[in-house]
């Protein structure tokens, strides 16, 4: 776990002042879940901006507040960033009211990154549940855009119902690619008559797919209960805690290690995370 210096504070820039972003595209992903494509209004700011897979930011609706999400697009796709959010509180409800062409704020990128350079030559196993695909989508596309650097890519993604699956077009694309093994699943009872994917909880499907642990990195994102039940399956398949990566999603206000609410023990999720290996998480108190 390496703490990264916060960019965007040098040169006298007040880090609490967001970049002005224009919503270039709105995609409805699932009930209550939307994706925004955001473009920098100040092109110079956009050119200077860079981030890596796994980082997050503070998105703001002026007058309503800020909310924390990962950057869901890949750093290999230049000129924009994307975020995917579920409408839940005051800020996300206000975000959901915005349309294409509207201006919102963004500050970041904050936090550490998935060490994808270290993973080169390895096989990748992505396991995600529900609304936790967005942080993983960033790293999936990042690795797929550098496809020849990695071995087999396996994606296991589940949601409660067919409607709740996000990024349906991309799932379709991954499903047709010969260099990606995709397994989509929905919880029992969540399937429709047309559903061609699997039915069952993510840990069960993982057990059925049973990917080999050798030379493989597992990246797991999902609700706490899914993570809790997935970890033992991975252990059974032979994955060591060092081979397993996940992200923590604690409540944050500042994003830069000052406001004091995202810490897990002595670790600030905003500075030392959000990306952790299971080995690192095992060292932390269970307060997340």
């Amino acid at each position: 776990m390496t703490t990264v210096a916060t960019p965007g504070v040098s040169g006298g820039r007040n880090l609490y002042v967001p970049y002005r972003m224009r919503i270039a595209k709105v995609t409805d992903e699932a009930p209550g879940v939307r994706t925004f494509r955001l473009e920098f209004i100040d092109e110079e700011e956009g050119r200077r901006f860079s981030f890596k897979a796994g980082q997050f930011g503070e998105y703001s609706v002026y007058g309503e507040g800020e909310s924390t999400f990962c950057i869901a697009s890949s750093p290999t796709r230049k000129g924009y960033i994307e975020c995917t959010f579920r409408q839940a509180g005051r800020v996300t409800s206000a975000l959901a009211d915005r349309d294409e062409g509207d201006i919102i704020g963004f500050r970041g990128p904050y936090g550490n990154t998935f060490p994808i350079e270290q993973w080169e030559g390895q096989k990748l196993l992505f396991i995600a549940g529900g609304i936790a695909l967005p942080p993983m989508r960033c790293v999936i596309w990042n690795c797929l855009d550098l496809r020849d650097k990695y071995g087999d890519v396996t994606i296991i993604y589940g949601a409660r119902t067919v409607a709740d699956l996000v990024y349906k077009h991309e799932l379709a694309e991954w499903g047709t690619r010969s260099d990606v093994k995709l397994f989509t699943t929905v919880d029992p009872g969540g399937q429709t008559p047309e559903w061609k994917g699997r039915v069952g909880f993510v840990p069960t499907i993982l057990e059925q797919v049973a990917p080999a642990a050798k030379d493989t990195i597992a990246i797991v994102c999902g609700p706490p209960i899914m993570i809790k039940l997935t970890m033992p399956v991975l252990a059974k398949l032979g994955f060591t805690p060092e081979q397993i990566y996940t992200t923590l999603e604690n409540r944050m206000k500042c994003g830069v290690g000052k406001c004091g609410r995202c810490n897990v023990g002595k670790v600030y999720v905003c500075k030392d995370g959000p990306v952790f290996t299971l080995a690192q998480l095992n060292q932390l108190p269970p307060e997340y």
Binding site: T6, P18, Y62, G63, G65, D102, E249, N250, R261, G265
Partner: protein, 347 residues
């Protein structure tokens, strides 16, 4: 090495006049006058802007609110918005950083600025905190008395501790102070009125307050991680805690904050304001999940943050032993007692 001088108490007005003439405001502890309902106020001393020494509470033990507001106000506007259809403008609000002399801070309060500085500058700067710190000069005042709640000597401080002060005044007798000029900011103050600071020749050591040490903070810091999993200790200590934010709001080093927007139809502001880890909502996720759902976990977070996490991550203790939290706690949660009992527990 610091330089020592003598400053007559009668010279304070002269010093204040020079400071004011140099464009500095002076903030000092002032005993509050009784109001329409006299019995409502026991002795209250608060920091206030003053122009003369007359109103200053000479021998106060502690104010209710800490001086942290001078650097980190209880609310502070950060951005201003103009909202009109698709055209939304955000404009930065520059903090008011008026050259200020904080006069008469006790050594614990002066030391608290080091903790605040560590939090606000440990990794990246803070455009609202740093300008104020740069414009603030601290003239500390050693303590000649303390009370049962004071425990500065357990957390690396003391009634005559110089940390955080630019000048530290120690009462020698009823008429004069020993002035230790500690920093360049202190020297700048002396330079405004050099004639008031006379040479100190072999003055007797002043009598300071006696504050007996109750625990060793460094040993406690080393031990706390091992106590973390023992949930029953934290539960037992926090049974009477009612989860209000009083301790955090009166704490000179508590710096957790919330960022909130306020708006009217076509305008708005973004502000940050004090918050407390004792509140259940502090860490509540949008999903309803809460990493610290119980009050005992929040109490543990408070103690661990001050005595374990901050020393380890920032190199400073999150407590200066001023005792405000314990004086103000509605349920008499006495931090020093609790922490002392943790220190005395077998590891």
């Amino acid at each position: 090495m610091s330089e020592t001088r003598i400053l007559q108490k009668a010279s304070l007005d002269g010093l204040f006049a020079k400071l004011t003439a140099a464009g500095r405001r002076i903030v000092a502890p002032v005993r509050q006058s009784a109001t329409a309902l006299e019995q409502c106020h026991a002795e209250r001393v608060e920091f206030e802007e003053v122009t003369t020494a007359q109103k200053i509470a000479a021998d106060y033990i502690q104010t209710i609110r800490p001086p942290k507001g001078a650097l980190f106000p209880r609310y502070e506007q950060m951005l201003r918005f103009k909202i009109g259809g698709k055209e939304v403008q955000a404009e930065e609000i520059k903090p008011e950083a008026k050259p200020t002399v904080l006069f008469g801070l006790h050594p614990c309060d002066a030391a608290s600025f080091a903790t605040l500085k560590a939090v606000f500058t440990w990794d990246s700067g803070d455009a609202y905190f740093e300008p104020k710190l740069a414009h603030t000069t601290v003239i500390g005042l050693s303590c000649t008395k303390g009370d049962a709640y004071c425990f500065c000597t357990s957390v690396g401080g003391g009634p005559g501790d110089t940390r955080g002060s630019d000048i530290l005044l120690t009462p020698l007798d009823a008429t004069k102070y020993l002035a230790e000029i500690l920093t360049d900011k202190g020297k700048a103050v002396v330079a405004l009125a050099p004639e008031l600071f006379t040479p100190a020749n072999g003055q007797a050591a002043p009598a300071l307050a006696k504050i007996a040490p109750r625990f060793a903070a460094d040993k406690l810091s080393a031990k706390l991680p091992a106590l973390f999993p023992k949930g029953e200790i934290w539960l037992e200590q926090s049974l009477r805690c009612i989860g209000c934010g009083a301790c955090a709001y009166v704490c000179p080093t508590c710096s957790c904050f919330d960022i909130q927007d306020e708006r009217q139809r076509y305008s708005g502001v973004r502000l940050r304001c004090w918050d407390s880890c004792g509140f259940g909502l502090f860490t509540l996720h949008a999903s309803g999940h809460n990493p610290r759902p119980k009050q005992s976990e929040r109490w543990r977070q408070r103690v661990m943050h001050k005595f374990s996490y901050q020393p380890e991550r920032l190199g400073v203790l999150g407590c200066v032993g001023c005792g405000r939290c314990s004086r103000s706690c509605p349920t008499d949660m006495n931090l020093a007692q609790h922490v002392q009992s943790l220190a005395e527990m077998p590891a």
